[in-house]
Amino acid sequence: MAVASLCDVVVTAGSFPLLSGVTLTLEPTVTYVITGSNGAGKTSLLRLLAGLEAPSRGSGTVLGFDICSSQRRELRRHVGWLGHEMSFYADLSPVENLKFAARTTGADVAAITPALDRVGLAQRSKVPMKFLSAGQQRRVSMAWFMVRRPQLWLMDEPYASLDDEGRDLLSELLVTAQTSGATIVLTSHGLLPPEIDAASIVMVGGRIAKVAS
């Protein structure tokens, strides 16, 4: 069964169509990379898949949940999210943030410290999030994916702001996730590392221009 299937979905903000009619099917255990020019609607599509935006026309399901109904909340529990902006509570440290998130979702609290070590934040894991550098904040999100192991990974330009080591780590993470059965959707403006074998989705003007694997 498809992980997501969208049928002519329109998403608007005010009177502006963020997505102008998206029809798309995502297959399980495939990695997709969305490309397109600035303002093409990549971030908006990811938000739609995460259940963060409600369609104003069209219909669709993601992970079996209807995105037009209140099942969106249920859907959100099953996806992982990495965005442009800082996530989590700015006043709490990475450890505290991840503990809160793990407890509320029932994820494994014991996995937090190793995950933070793994992404190289052992030293800075007790500093409030707002004091971390751009790349360090991204790494906290990576650690959360390791703890959470979601079914559907949604990542907005995950390679931005990471140094070489961080990028290798991310690629490794993505490859393991894919082999263990997760579906990954990410956006990117640059080339992906060769070890990532991804189907490409090209967006133009709020719609899908081309899907190629």
Binding site: T12, S15, P17, A40, S70, V204, A209
Partner: protein
Amino acid sequence: MKLLIRRALGPLALASSVATFVMGYFITPPDKVQGDLARLVYIHPAEAWVALYLSFGTATIASALYLWPRTRSMVADRVAEAAVEVATLFIGLTLLTGSIWGRPTWGVWWVWDARLTSTAVLGVLMLGYLALRRANDDPQVRAKRSAVFAILTAVNIPIIHFSVMWWKTLHQGATVFTENRDLKIHGSMAWTLLLSFLAFSLNFAWMVRARYRIADREAGQRDSDLDAALVARRTETAS
């Protein structure tokens, strides 16, 4: 039936208003104590009834209908908005005519009476509702938030009402309103009073309908704007 309502509402509202005016101004006798001032009784209570009960009742029911998933529709949202907007107008008029009445009767524009205070609080709550609508752009979000706020306000009305009532009885003796009750026993006056309620209710219905239709047309406009915007968006190039 629908057609009848559509055709008849405006003329009926107008006719009843004119009739109230004629009856109130020319036919009924002036009051012994208050003189011509007492003629405000054909305006003020009816305004208050529309502002507090009729319009806010409408808004609350419409908001509840919106929040209930099975009956959710933008129609309910628009009706609620129209009702509150009209209610704000009427509450303003109630306060205004009440103050005008109060100045000669009590010697001041305002007293801290239960009814007055709760009316004022409700008026500010309605302004809050309108402010809330203006602070959100997204129609869905706006509809939900303002519906929840309307329901909260409705829950608040009895609480405000009782708190203010009890609060007043502790501090103040008899109210002014009882004195005027005997006005009603005069035949022509009672009929005129009744007529004024009918007239204001009809006017309310007519105004809400007009406001609703404006909102509806705006929504239709937005819809076709969206179609145009969709076309424009789809023709963006890969650049």
